[in-house]
Symmetry: C2
Subunit: 146 residues, 2 copies
Amino acid sequence: MVSPKRELRKVGLTVTMSRIKVLDVLASAQTESRHLRAEEIYKCLMSTGDSMSVGTIYRVLAQLEMAGLVVRHNFDTGQARYELAGDDRHDHMVCMDSGEIIEFRDQQIIEQQKRIAKEQGYELVDYRLVLFVRKDIRTEKSVGGI
Amino acid sequence: MVSPKRELRKVGLTVTMSRIKVLDVLASAQTESRHLRAEEIYKCLMSTGDSMSVGTIYRVLAQLEMAGLVVRHNFDTGQARYELAGDDRHDHMVCMDSGEIIEFRDQQIIEQQKRIAKEQGYELVDYRLVLFVRKDIRTEKSVGGI
DNA sequence: ATGATTGCAAAACATTTGCATTCTA
DNA sequence: TAGAATGCAAATGTTTTGCAATCAT
């Protein structure tokens, strides 16, 4: 994210402190590959003295998501997690032991999905893919009995 | 599902009216390839005169899920949807126009995922895959700019 | 100035839980 | 009969929203 202000203008949103602050928090979290919940963004802002109401955070996130600047995830059942949308579309794997979230990109899997959709007479518009993984200890295991 | 009672005993759950009724509703919904929300199960039971508290429905669904008799999905952000667990592991695509949910099975995509996990030094334990699709009208479109 | 944005608190919503009652084995 | 399951309602946790005050252009 070059400049929050520029990004906001580019997508037709007015430049406000709230939006800039939320983008800043997400940007700094991104360098650590973190995916934040609204509550975490709120606490993060509070800790730096930037107060903002939770309601506003949700509103800002919704607007940024609609504008395509932010992506919302639902890894687990529970709270949504947010991250900056980059040029690089990627998916996630979640380590079931450590809770660590690993990002990955794989063109092949997207092609497969397009193929599957087409086989049913549909066109792929979007998808959600999350892999639940464990450190590879050379154990032969299958998924869902397959 | 051969017999709800037998299934319940098999997984070590006592046979109660609530559990049987919920399994029945899910079984009849399954023939229409429906994935029900707790609220829908509740209404379905009410409409046939079988009253059951919402709290119980959630408790029963949680138990059935832990026992492996039921699978919980989170297609959209919002309420969870439940379906009977069958022997056949399958994934879903959601039509963005009609809201229709199509089930599909594809071994190739699972192999791809195993490969991706392994490339990162992990072992695939489970995954969530949902394709968002639209009736194929021969429009060339790409996903996420890819 | 004016329309969009925000704070605040209440509302909405799905889901969970405590406790007394009822049911299963 | 004992222990598990249920109804009911209150509690929870996340997210949304109405309205008056404030801000961006």
